[in-house]
Amino acid sequence: MNTLDLEALGLRAVNGRLHALRPETNERRWRIENPRGAHAIACGLSSPLDVEIAGHVGFYCAGMNQRAEVTVHGHAGVGVAENMMSGVVRVKGNASQSAGATAHGGLLVIEGDASSRCGISMKGIDIVVGGSVGHMSAFMAQSGSLVVCGDAGEALGDSIYEARLYVRGEVESLGADCVEKEMRAEHREALEALLERAGIDADAGDFRRYGSARTLYHFDSDQAAAY
């Protein structure tokens, strides 16, 4: 395991060291110490590294991640794993707003709670939240899955296109065009696989599924007066 002291080296040097590694590198295991809430830690990684961050991180941690597995041993600020393409990002604590925003792929696990707008405009990422999510989560979600083991705040899935939402607890309210859907065997299997990958012990049978009613795909002339 290689250790990088962010306090001593500075953010650019730490990220630069990780960016310089080729995908075939043998130096796969890295630990970043003294993160102290800095922004953009382990951002833009593209090699299959295993990066442990020892503490709380600021905004945009592990953004644009490809292939790497990044673990935050603490809480994460706004936009953790935003625009992730592949790989795994795991937050051992809570995450702030817009976790996994616009992400195309990979797995984001938040073991604690996520704040508002979790999975906003998600485009293929799988997000598993061990706790609850705040208001406007999965806003304009386009593809992928959001699993919430706790409760969901107001306006879940507002203006959702596609994407599958699974919630075990209470949903405060559903957003425009988001509806509860039948949980069929295929969804249950997919959810079990997601929980397994996330390492979260929960019974898929306790969840309810939500998704798009698909009424916002096309302009409805009955509502012309509203525009």
């Binding site: 102290r36 809430g37 922004h39 208001h135 507002d158 309210s173 425009a176």
Partner: protein
Amino acid sequence: MCGIVGLYLKNDALRPELGRLFRPMLLEMTSRGPDSAGVAIYRDPVGDGETKFSLAHDSAAHDWQRLAADIATALEASARVRAIDTHAILVSDADESRMRARLAEAHPDVRLVGSGTSVEIFKETGLPEAVYARFELEAAGGSHIIGHTRMATESAVTTAGSHPFATGADLCLVHNGSLSNHNRLREELVRHGLAFQTDNDSEVAAAYLTWKLRQGYSLKRALEDALEELDGFYTFCIGTGDGFAVLRDPIACKHAVLAETDDWVAMATEYRAIARLPGAEGARIWEPRPRTVYSWGPDGFEGDEDDGATASSAQATTVRPAAERAAAGGVH
């Protein structure tokens, strides 16, 4: 942008260290607000019948002793003054309204930036590091402090336009965000007799709270009404004689994080401002919910709803306006 920070010491033994502990909090927010900075520090409560006035002047060479002598003579009152750079702390047993009138009449170039029994407000244009040094805050002790680093968006970069803004005795406000209905609201408040020093939107929020508090509303009730009547984005931190309160707008547009240990409670726009406090890594850390009034202090608000902050000494109250609930999730 803008950064806001607050620190309340639960452990009295840390009080002499307040300024030293708070300095990295404010300075870490420099990148969010390099234009101006300000703090409200609560220390050295005055005696019975006395009021502490925070005064400011454009010139650091202003003759504050002459002002104190004039107050003593004209108002037949006690007046001790301590000058710190462009500001001065005046302690007097004069009636507050008579003090205001005398300052306006005989010292029109002096700005009254705050008053109360313990609050002292210092604010200036310039980098937070320079402002902190000018007002000798690193060596300052006290019970609690709130601060602001400003990146101006709505009005000019001036000392008067810097935060905090006073909202009553020992009360002041720092704001991250922008209000969209401040011009109309300012006109209304002027009609109610409130005076403004700037075109700043945050000053309108402070004046709104002042107006509500003058009518006898509790701070909690005033903040609940603010949720209905202030349109825009905001995270507020409100310093009180006992501690501080935090409120975010109904969609939580602006960042905020709270942290608590056995020794202190801190709020900041970003966690990195809290990271250097002793014990921060092991602190209980959470994000304040929208439309929820949080407060700390020995005489904190009564809370009527439990929060994620279960183990906290915070009192939290979530406000759910009926109209907003109905609209949520409705209109595309």
